[in-house]
């Protein structure tokens, strides 16, 4: 999740109200249980809600090939900010909404990043 989150680890504040009321929007940084290991909670950026059309680069290190899919019902599409080194929906597919735990809205540590999270870098 570089450059939004640092290598040495961050402490974020997560709220669960937005997931319950369905107020998540593309661009939010969300926490969800990994579909590959239910004991691990993963932090990525929400890119597409159900029904959205998402275009993504399949393998940014090797080629420029893009793929477009429609996010299935009840699922969300998540991507890490550092597309060259991330395991996200391009690897494990759309994530069911029931796995989303909460939305990160404030950075506590490190001190120089204290404040709300940066939007997705272009």
């Amino acid at each position: 999740m570089l450059p939004t989150l640092g290598i040495t680890g961050n402490v974020l504040l997560m709220e669960r109200i937005s997931t319950r009321t369905g107020k998540l929007r593309p661009g939010d940084v969300v926490f969800f249980r990994s579909p590959e290991n239910p004991r691990r909670v993963v932090c990525k950026r929400l890119v597409g809600m159900e029904g959205d059309q998402v275009t993504y680069v399949v393998d940014p290190k090797n080629s420029d090939k893009c793929n477009t899919i429609v996010v299935p019902k009840g699922h969300v599409w998540v991507e890490g900010d550092n597309i060259y080194n991330t395991k996200d929906s391009r690897n494990f597919g759309a994530v069911p909404y029931g796995l989303v735990e909460g939305k990160a809205f404030w950075t506590l540590l490190p001190r120089r990043d204290f404040g709300s999270l940066a939007p997705k870098p272009k």
């Binding site: 239910p38 019902k73 796995l99």
Partner: protein, 168 residues
């Protein structure tokens, strides 16, 4: 003793009971009604399609299994539907990660972190044969006992189908 202080005491007691029961139901166990006939004859054995909610089975769902997500073949679990996170389903685990499960058309490999669920009543059950393997993170609890109706109070046994699953 004025009415406001009586009301305040009642409000305090209601709030305390509410918080305690929410904590118990989230962390330890809760009681859930079973709707539909997809788990006949284990739950709701009467096939009357006009089941009214008073005659539904009520089962005890334990949440201790959520600390390390270790399930066994044949466990009955409660999970959020992958297509609609507001719906919960009750089905039996037929395949665990790494297994190969045989359906009518082909053999499916269960990926890491997922499980294959099927209802006991294959004829009328919306399960993994329709929506595929279910991520284990969607599981909300494991059914251990039937608590209602009184003449069917019992523990829920593990049942594995034969010749359908090849373990990893």
């Amino acid at each position: 003793m004025g009415t406001p202080s009586v009301l305040w005491n009642v409000a305090k007691k209601c709030f305390t009971v509410g918080v305690i029961s929410l904590t118990v139901s989230d962390l330890f166990a809760s009681i859930v009604p079973v709707r539909g006939a997809s788990m006949s004859p284990t739950f709701n054995p009467k096939t009357n399609s006009l089941l009214d909610s008073l005659s539904d089975d009520r089962v005890l769902v334990e949440k201790f299994c959520l600390s390390n997500y270790k399930f066994s073949h044949g466990d009955v679990i409660v999970f959020c539907s992958p297509d609609n996170h507001k719906e919960k389903h009750i089905k039996r685990i037929v395949g665990l990660p790494g297994d190969w499960v045989g359906t009518i058309y082909d053999v499916v490999h269960i990926p890491e972190g997922h499980c294959w669920v099927e209802g006991d009543n294959s004829a009328s059950s919306l399960d993994s044969r329709s929506f595929g393997p279910v991520p284990l993170g969607l599981v909300k609890g494991r059914v251990t006992h039937i608590l209602w109706p009184p003449h069917r109070v019992s523990s829920v046994e593990r049942k594995t189908p034969r010749n359908r699953v090849s373990p990893s």
